[in-house]
């Protein structure tokens, strides 16, 4: 990989993505054979979570442990000197003395980029405000590749709040590197932003619709996201939309046998629990994908995996 930090999916070329996915696959196999690996023995990861995100933090910590390394960090800014007014740059300059790699989650956009510029050690962005969460995108791609053995040739639907969803913006962009057809399925008012559609429409075929039923029989992947109530000024409007996009067994009746339903989790009620134990559900395996993908990134940035 040609860079030293993982800040934005926009920094990734297709070769970089493919490389990370390949390393992740290799590590997953080794992990299954040998249990905990030793690549990162003697290395320390610092997880700096200026806002809480327990799942993401645990996933990084688990990945580092399975790579044989150690973890230090904090889970909320209120328990640190940040509360006393210390600048992010000073926090980074301090912590880089304790760790070989830093994972940062911060409520302000651009915080991870700034941290990477200041730090002498590699930095991974685990979410900076509404901007980027690149490791989520990589694990989404990894999941698709694992489920189908490939990404090229697939029909992939992104469903839900496509306007505000950071996850689907990055994923759509990354998928545009591949030979796929994308369906953007969103309620009126929550459509994919124009600038993203324009940016990728010359690379992939895009179908924009609000009609989930019409799309279901055509797709290989249904990537579901949460529609947040607070996005709607009128609660009645929210309730109408919420119902129309509930993925349950009835909706899936017309699906391809091989359809996989994905979701970045946590879900509220956009996927019925009855879907969990069907051949369609891939969302818990998707959670697992975070481990090999984050192991790959940590290993590559630490220089212990080639």
């Amino acid at each position: 990989m040609r860079f030293q930090d993982v800040i934005s999916i926009n920094d990734f070329r297709k070769e970089d993505i493919d490389y990370v996915l390949r390393v992740a696959e290799r590590l997953e196999e080794e992990l299954k054979k040998e249990g905990t690996l030793k690549y990162a023995k003697g290395k320390v990861l610092a997880t700096l979570f200026f806002e809480p995100s327990t799942r993401t933090r645990l996933s990084f910590e688990s990945a580092m442990h399975r790579l044989g390394g150690a973890v230090i960090g904090f889970a909320e800014a209120s328990s640190t000197s940040v509360k006393k007014g210390e600048s992010l740059m000073d926090t980074i300059r301090t912590v880089e003395n304790y760790a070989d790699v830093i994972v940062i989650r911060h409520p302000r956009e651009g915080a991870a980029r700034l941290a990477a510029e200041v730090a002498r050690v590699p930095v991974i962005n685990a979410g900076d405000g509404a901007n980027q969460h690149p490791t989520q995108t990589l694990l989404d791609l990894y999941t698709i590749k694992k489920e189908f053995g490939k990404i090229d040739g697939l029909d992939i639907a992104l469903l839900g709040d496509l306007k505000y969803g950071r996850t689907v913006h990055s994923l759509a962009k990354a998928l545009s590197y591949y030979n796929v057809r994308l369906y953007f399925v969103a309620p009126k008012g929550l459509e994919m932003p124009r600038h993203i559609v324009e940016e990728i429409s010359n690379k992939v075929e895009i179908v924009e619709t609000s009609d989930l039923e019409a799309v279901i029989p055509k797709v290989d992947v249904l990537y579901v996201t949460r529609i947040q109530k607070e996005r709607f000024p009128d609660p009645a409007e929210y309730n109408k939309i919420k119902g129309s996009y509930k993925v349950d067994l009835k909706v899936l009746e017309k699906a391809k046998d091989t359809l996989k339903v994905m979701h970045p989790l946590p879900r509220v009620d956009e996927i019925a629990y009855e879907v969990d134990n069907t051949k369609y559900s891939a969302y818990f395996r998707q959670v697992w994908s975070g481990i090999p993908v984050r192991m790959a990134l940590l290993g590559i940035l630490l220089g212990v995996i080639k």
């Binding site: 926009n10 302000r108 956009e109 651009g110 980029r113 700034l114 901007n131």
Partner: protein, 150 residues
């Protein structure tokens, strides 16, 4: 006719072809100190623009960074460096590929508003002007950029 409106200068910089009405804004971002004599002509008839503003700064040769600042709000401007009553150098202002300082990010949640860091933008398009914040990756169009000059 122009020369009657603003007297010629011995040494300094003449900024010509500023779109009419932007002259004061140009002065503002140049942030000139009280030492310089400044002559400004507004709404001068111009073959090229219809109406234009002209600024003459006596005793000061603008550097490249200052000239590039002007490009953001007056891309049509030309900069003439004057010495001994003569034009020594004629420059077209040009928007650089990267803008460091000069503008603050329009995104209120951008880290640049909270840390001691110089805002930095990548120029995605010069015409129409479109910038992308190096830190938060938010894009800004011309009308927004003009409201966020530092």
């Amino acid at each position: 006719m122009k020369e009657l409106k603003v007297s010629a200068i011995n040494k300094g910089t003449v900024i010509d072809h500023i779109p009419a009405g932007r002259g004061l804004k140009v002065l503002e971002i140049l942030n000139l100190s009280g030492d310089n004599t400044i002559l400004i002509a507004m709404n001068v008839r111009s073959g090229k623009l219809g109406r234009k503003d002209i600024i003459k700064v006596e005793g000061k040769i603008l550097n490249e960074e200052e000239v590039n600042k002007i490009a953001l709000i007056a891309p049509s401007a030309t900069v003439n460096i004057i010495e001994n009553w003569e034009v020594m150098e004629k420059r077209k202002v040009e928007i650089p590929d990267e803008i460091i300082g000069i503008i603050e990010c329009a995104n209120p949640n951008c880290i640049t508003h909270y840390e001691e860091v110089t805002p930095k933008f990548k120029v995605l398009s010069k015409k129409p002007l479109k910038l992308k914040c190096h830190y938060c990756e938010r894009t800004m169009e011309e009308d927004i950029v003009l409201k966020h000059l530092l």
